[in-house]
């Protein structure tokens, strides 16, 4: 097996707060291979975005990476000096943020912003960079790019702006793209276009993609594998068909059960009772135990570690002590 593009091992991120430190990410591990799309899904506050920011090295004080390792194609990047990490950002790791309306500087032409990024990372002349910028805009599906390159961000629609943001993220041919809820702020019809664009770019360039979202539909459509996060930990990770069809972790089951179907049965959607714990009040043992219907004594004492189970990996005591049949 070839080396994964991104390898995260036992990552921990802490935020220093007035009353002690809060651990937002607690022992997260995953790999993304070349050309693979990993979907990261979970409720708000599960640590999806923080994981993405940690990978690209944009955790700002009072937050910090307090443990674990992040490797980009074999190179350890979580402890690089700021200047070296800056060179990696935008060049080897591209990032797409949630809101295309605010991601672009309103006072600069989109072309200038692309050229600026290209020339920061690649040794190109102004005219060569501009030509490349036009090609990029064409590649992300912006019509008449040679004209639109001189437009200002406010002259683009939301979907078109997200395309510009994507062009900016891929302008130096990164090995990894982190897309943090790239479609949340967009119309449903535009969402599908952006998703297929990200998918196509990943395929054409062999780029690994970490797709952070809370939209299971998006994950099912795009991802090869999916990681379900809960309270700063990975509850379950595995190939997307397996996790969607046969979720193992009670939380993942609840999540899949909450997806509405078009089958027409007018049953109420399954709801997971309660809400995710605050970072300052994570329960002992398994952090999901207060909301879990199958919780037993051990869940309230021991923290479950990820266990391989077929193609999936699940952090749940149910699979440690009892056979899978009785749990399902």
């Amino acid at each position: 097996m070839t080396e994964p593009v991104l390898s995260v091992r036992n990552l921990q991120v802490e935020f220093a707060a007035r009353r002690g430190t809060l651990r937002a990410i607690d022992g997260v591990s995953f790999d993304i291979a070349k050309g693979e799309v990993l979907g990261v899904v979970g409720e708000s506050g599960a640590g999806k975005s923080v994981t993405g920011l940690a990978v690209i090295g944009l955790i700002d004080p009072p937050g910090r990476i307090s443990g674990g390792e992040i490797h980009l194609a074999g190179l350890r990047i979580d402890n690089l000096p700021p200047e070296e990490m800056r060179r990696i950002r935008g060049k080897r790791i591209g990032m797409i943020f949630q809101d295309p309306l605010t991601s672009l500087n309103p006072l600069y032409k989109v072309g200038d912003q692309i050229v600026e990024t290209i020339r920061t990372h690649l040794n190109l002349s102004e005219t060569a960079a501009r030509r490349r910028a036009i090609d990029l805009l064409a590649e992300v599906g912006i019509p008449a790019p040679e004209k639109r390159i001189d437009g200002y961000p406010h002259e683009f629609s939301g979907g078109m702006r997200q395309r510009v943001v994507i062009a900016l993220a891929i302008c130096a041919e990164p090995e990894l793209i982190i897309a943090d809820e790239p479609t949340t702020a967009l119309d449903v019809s535009v969402q599908a276009q952006i998703i297929s664009l990200i998918k196509r770019l990943g395929r054409d360039h062999g780029t690994a993609v970490m797709l952070v979202t809370h939209d299971m539909g998006v994950i099912a459509e795009t991802s090869d594998r999916v990681a379900v996060m809960y309270a700063g930990r990975v509850a379950e990770i595995g190939p997307v068909q397996d996790v969607v069809k046969n979720p193992l972790h009670p939380y993942a089951k609840g999540l899949m059960g909450a997806i509405p179907t078009l089958a027409g049965d007018d049953k109420r959607l399954v709801q997971i009772p309660g809400s995710m714990p605050r970072l300052s009040a994570i329960p002992r043992g398994c952090s999901f135990n207060p909301r879990c219907a199958s919780a037993f004594d051990r869940c309230r004492i021991d923290r479950p570690e990820p266990l391989p189970r077929g193609t999936q990996s699940v952090a749940c005591h149910l699979y440690d002590t009892v056979p899978a049949e009785s749990a399902a």
């Binding site: 690209i56 944009l58 800056r86 060179r87 990696i88 950002r89 935008g90 060049k91 591209g94 990032m95 943020f97 809101d99 605010t102 991601s103 672009l104 500087n105 309103p106 006072l107 600069y108 032409k109 600026e116 990024t117 920061t120 990372h121 200002y152 406010h154 002259e155 943001v165 900016l168 993220a169």
Partner: protein, 326 residues
């Protein structure tokens, strides 16, 4: 864009007419001008003749129209105390005031922006705290006190700088400038610092607050995610976005710099319009007071107009909304 400029220009003219009403009515509050011009023993018939020859028996609206018509041609009548046309007096004094105001504004903007950017980027450094303290002094101490303290220190105690006047000036056409002689430059230092200090602290605090605000925005985070250099992010992206409100404030403040110049000019005996105005108030020289009011308003209104137009140059979003709206 043209329509926008035109509409703003019409609004500006409206403001000027309103100011004209005010300055015109000043004449009527200060008693009968004929009484001030003639001796005690002038007969009623002679007074009536003077009144008629000056057009003072015309209806008020006609007099007002004449006043505005003359003012539009920079004719403001004759000063009571100097017996000279007011417009000549003002034009003679204007270069001194404008030069002082411009130098003070440049001083305020350059040092205010530098200090503001520094204290936003190095928020916890000791120098940033010093800047914050200085800005507190600049905001809370009255202008004249700072001027007097500086005179005491630099003129009386150290003897480095002149305590009053403009120094030697050079005539360029009708304009006089102190910028070309050493004594003129030396004389400019203290008055312009005194005058600009308040604006400097204002700009510094504004730049600091705006810069901190901008540094938190998504596009700055995205610029960092693109791997741009810190330098490019701070000075290319953050500073330019910060400058939009700064231009407004600095521009609008330029008007009050000219207005505040009255105090600074009095402290430093600076031969500008402000000093002329103060002397006019003391001598109830209504034509000068009225003309000064009109001139300062004209400068204010012109600056507002220029700031509005500058806005659209700095911020492309306004450019297109403006042209789309018309």
């Amino acid at each position: 864009m043209l329509a926008f400029t035109l509409r703003r220009a019409i609004q500006a003219i409206g403001v000027m007419i309103a100011v004209g009403v005010l300055s015109f009515s000043m004449f009527r509050f200060a008693g009968d001008p004929v009484n001030q011009m003639v001796g005690m023993d002038t007969s009623g018939a002679e007074r009536a003749a003077i009144r008629k020859s000056l057009g003072l028996d015309d209806p008020v609206i006609v007099q007002f129209g004449r006043y505005i018509g003359n003012a539009a041609q920079f004719k403001f009548g004759v000063s009571y105390q100097f017996r000279l046309p007011v417009s000549n007096l003002l034009m003679e004094r204007m270069p001194a005031t404008l030069e002082l105001a411009i130098v003070a504004t440049i001083f305020a903007m350059v040092s205010g922006i530098l200090m503001g950017v520094y204290s936003a980027l190095r928020r916890d450094s000791w120098l940033a705290h010093v800047f914050q303290a200085v800005s507190l002094i600049g905001i809370s101490l009255p202008t004249f006190l700072i001027g007097v303290l500086m005179i005491y220190l630099f003129s009386v105690t150290l003897g480095w700088l002149p305590s009053f006047g403009r120094g030697d000036v050079v005539h360029i056409g009708w304009w006089t400038t102190g910028l070309l002689t050493l004594s003129g430059l030396k004389a400019l230092i203290m008055p312009s610092i005194t005058l600009g200090l308040f604006q400097m602290t204002l700009i510094m605090r504004l730049v600091r607050a705006e810069m901190l605000e901008v540094m938190r925005t998504d596009y700055i985070r995205f610029a960092r995610a693109r791997g741009l250099t810190t330098r490019a992010i701070h000075f290319g992206h953050a500073l330019r976005n910060t400058l939009v409100p700064v231009i407004t404030v600095a521009g609008l403040q330029f008007g009050s710099v000219i207005a505040f110049a009255i105090i600074t000019e009095t402290v430093f005996q600076w031969p500008g319009m402000g000093l002329l105005f103060v002397q006019a108030v003391q001598n109830v020289d209504i034509p000068i007071m009225a003309a000064y009011l009109m001139m300062v308003s004209l400068i204010f209104v012109t600056i507002n107009l220029v700031v509005d137009i500058l806005y659209t140059i700095v911020d492309p979003r306004l450019r297109s909304t403006v042209s789309r709206a018309h």
